[in-house]
């Protein structure tokens, strides 16, 4: 085989590049990874001309924990404990995406009650995620009180999660085939009582931050990304809906019974931080609407786990009578179940955008490969485009407006 030598004309390229007369007047500043407003451990390398951002380079990987690789070592059902730790603010949504993907491979569907529980909890999770965003975004722009109000509300919702799932943060409550257990006694009633108060809070939030003139001046026309650019950069979630693109997977490819719910997708076409802000604020209201519908449906009891033999442990009585049932129980509990050979991509709408699971199964009891299309990662890629030419103070506003979670970016 002949090797072909590739000649790179380095000298000519440097000669062509025009010398930048301002190059030595610029300042390179490192924003992060330890910085109050990079929402975790994002590092931004900013080239500043005075206070104007000339260039921005996101530097990620500080939170990389090899989660996708770890998933290959876990059994199908155990992977759920990892998915919820990626985008830790939207943990239920992550679990749901994975469960739905594997369910598609197994060709089963969760029972109706399980589907409604999933919708209720993921929407509540979306609200908690948006509350964290609202608080920190406000704080980035200097309105520190918003943060405390948001977390007071979120705390109550986390209490509901604890009530239903036993955990406040990493619930791992959705499993393949349905939910781990049914909702406790008066959960439905308590959430129903809570939601009107939350809607009142949203009105208050509107008064405190949304209606504030300074806040509007800080966000309007800042961090623009045009409709075409937003599509080209494959943005998703509220970030693309703030650029006037009506793209919501709950509507375009409904899953878990979202097509039976009545809700609107808020879209604003300002393409700026302000539009993205409004999208998320409206989304919280829409989520409350969905929750209310789900709560009505959850009044009727029903199974919460599919009775597919691979997923449900056999009955105790049958085990005592039939040896094959006993063996089945033993294998299921010790080895886990297998998933047919195949591959699947399943996207859902998380609080941040399209979170998609690409899963390959080689027919064993562990996934061969799990690849996550993380919305934060892809939305973050468009950050330089949004901040270049803006002021330093706008950078933090823009980071807040794309609502990244570094656990989701690095995985």
């Amino acid at each position: 085989m002949q090797s072909k030598e590739i000649v790179v004309p380095t000298a000519s390229i440097t000669a062509l590049r025009r010398p930048d007369p301002l190059a030595d007047q610029r300042m390179t500043m490192s924003l992060g990874p330890q910085h109050p407003s990079t929402h975790g451990v994002l590092r931004l390398e900013l080239v500043l001309d005075g206070e104007t951002v000339v260039e921005a380079r996101p530097d990620i990987g500080y939170l990389h924990t090899g989660m996708e690789k770890t998933m290959e070592k876990e059994k199908w059902q155990q992977v759920v404990t990892i998915t919820c730790r990626m985008d830790y603010l939207n943990s239920m949504g992550n679990d749901l995406g994975y469960c739905l993907a594997v369910e598609k491979l197994l060709d089963i569907e969760a029972p109706e009650r399980a589907r409604n529980i999933r919708v209720l909890l993921t929407e509540m999770n979306r609200i908690t995620s948006h509350l964290v965003w609202w608080g920190t975004h406000g704080m980035d722009i200097g309105a520190m009180t918003a943060f405390f109000y948001a977390f007071t509300e979120r705390e109550q919702m986390l209490d509901f999660f604890e009530m239903a799932t036993g955990a406040r943060f990493h619930q791992s409550y959705f499993i393949i085939g349905g939910c781990r257990w049914d909702l406790p006694g008066d959960f439905v009633q308590q959430v129903t009582d809570f939601l009107p108060g939350f809607e009142k809070f949203l009105d208050e939030a509107k008064k405190l931050v949304t209606g504030n003139r300074i806040f509007q001046r800080r966000t309007k026309g800042v961090g623009r990304i045009s409709k075409q650019d937003a599509i080209d950069w494959a943005l998703s979630g509220p970030t693309i809906r703030g650029s006037g693109v009506n793209w919501d997977i709950r509507k375009s490819e409904p899953y878990s019974g979202y097509d039976t719910y009545d809700f609107d997708v808020p879209v604003y076409d300002g393409c700026d931080v302000w539009s993205r802000y409004l999208v998320r604020m409206d989304e919280m209201r829409e989520s409350v609407r969905i929750c209310k519908q789900a709560l009505v449906r959850l009044k009727d009891p029903g199974p919460v786990l599919s009775d597919h033999p691979k997923l449900k442990l056999p009955e105790r009585d049958l085990m005592k009578q039939h040896i094959d049932v006993m063996i089945h129980h033993f294998l299921l509990a010790s080895e886990g179940f297998t998933v047919p050979i195949g591959e699947v991509y399943f996207p859902i709408e998380s609080a941040r955008g399209e979170i998609g699971y690409y899963i390959v199964s080689d027919g064993k009891e562990r996934p061969w490969r799990v690849r996550v299309r993380a919305p934060s990662f892809i939305n973050l890629a468009a950050l330089p485009k949004m901040v270049e030419g803006q002021l330093l103070a706008d950078v933090v506003a823009v980071i807040g407006s794309i609502d990244i979670v570094l656990g989701d970016v690095d995985r």
């Binding site: 407003s37 704080m139 722009i141 200097g142 520190m144 009180t145 109000y149 504030n212």
Partner: protein
């Protein structure tokens, strides 16, 4: 020329007393800020040290004193150590002209003025001293040799210089009406109408609001706290400062807040003037401190409510709105002073 020992003694005692009163007010301003913010933000605030956390300022002070003294290697050491002093000392020097009250008759002592000293350029003296404070910030930003500090120092120098213009111009109306630069005389001029002849009611409401906004900007508080915008510049000019050096900046900021509140009270809210103050002169300090604390509360309230301006918006606001408004107010006051008074 003989030295009047009595006069000297009186001045010294007054200085010591006022210094301690102001220090205690400052310490409890910090405490009040934390508690009031906590109430605004639906949480408790410091309530562990002493009853209701009242000893918190002293605990904080001890903590600051016992922290390790750090000087960054790359810093310009002398300027770095000098900056907190430059920020603090002028801020404290203004307190000698605070007019706490009128002339009172105390037992054993006799008649004394409740002010350390009053001289005929009192207001100019205060402005001169508060303007010096900007040097502390600029030097701190430069000497720290950190990019965050540098940007913070740059921002604050631009901001303080711009807003000082509007600040100084906004008080001219009040001075025209009072006819003096001496803070005590300015207060005395507002004694009419049963002690309610305050400038804010009589022809200077516009001047008052311009003064208030500029004063908040001058003291680097929300919504104008760009020099230390923590979400952008970590802590701005004092990013590299720790221990007592940081505490000095902190104290300087609060002393400036107090000075701005005192000036607003003296120039526009009639200082110690109020109903029945002529009959009971000891009411004077009560009125005076009440008004000052109202302004301090206002500062805290704003901090709990408002977001932060952006640099260019701040500059636009200062030069394109506040400055013309202040000039307009001067013309207005001149007409008032010519025909109405």
């Amino acid at each position: 020329m003989s030295i009047d020992v009595g006069f000297l003694l009186e001045a010294l005692i007054k200085i010591v007393v006022v210094f301690h009163i102001v220090l205690i007010i400052l310490a409890y301003t910090v405490y009040a800020e934390r508690r009031v913010l906590a109430v605004i933000q639906n949480r408790l605030g410091p309530n562990r040290v002493g009853p209701q956390g009242l000893l918190q300022p002293f605990a904080d002070l001890l903590k600051f004193i016992f922290k390790e003294e750090l000087v960054p290697l790359a810093a310009n050491k002398w300027l770095y150590l000098l900056a907190p002093l430059v920020a603090l000392v002028p801020a404290f020097m203004t307190m000698i002209v605070y007019p706490f009250g009128g002339t009172v008759n105390l037992p054993w002592v006799g008649e004394i003025d409740l002010v350390v000293t009053h001289f005929n350029v009192g207001l100019l003296y205060v402005f001169a001293m508060t303007s010096l404070g900007v040097y502390g910030i600029v030097i701190a930003g430069w000497a720290s040799n950190s990019k965050y500090s540098l940007l913070g120092g740059l921002r604050s120098s631009a901001q303080m210089v711009s807003y000082e213009l509007a600040l100084s111009l906004s008080v001219i109306g009040a001075l025209l009406q009072a006819g003096s630069l001496d803070l005590v005389e300015i207060v005395r001029a507002q004694g009419g109408f049963f002690g309610l002849g305050w400038h804010i009611f009589w022809f200077q409401p516009l001047g008052f609001f311009i003064f208030l906004i500029s004063a908040i900007a001058e003291t680097n508080r929300i919504p104008f706290d760009l020099p230390e915008a923590e979400t952008e510049l970590v802590a701005g000019f004092h990013t590299e400062y720790s221990a007592m050096k940081f505490a000095l900046f902190f104290l300087g900021e609060y002393a400036n807040m107090l000075t701005a509140s005192v000036l607003a009270t003296v120039l526009f809210l009639g200082g110690w003037q109020g109903p029945f103050v002529d009959q009971f002169p000891l009411l004077g300090p009560v009125y005076f401190l009440g008004k000052v604390f109202f302004f301090i509360f206002l500062y805290i309230w704003l901090r709990g409510t408002l977001p932060r301006f952006r640099y260019d918006q701040l500059m636009n606001f200062g030069w394109k709105f506040l400055l013309p408004a202040a000039l307009f107010n001067i013309v207005l006051s001149a007409i008032v002073a010519l025909f109405a008074l």
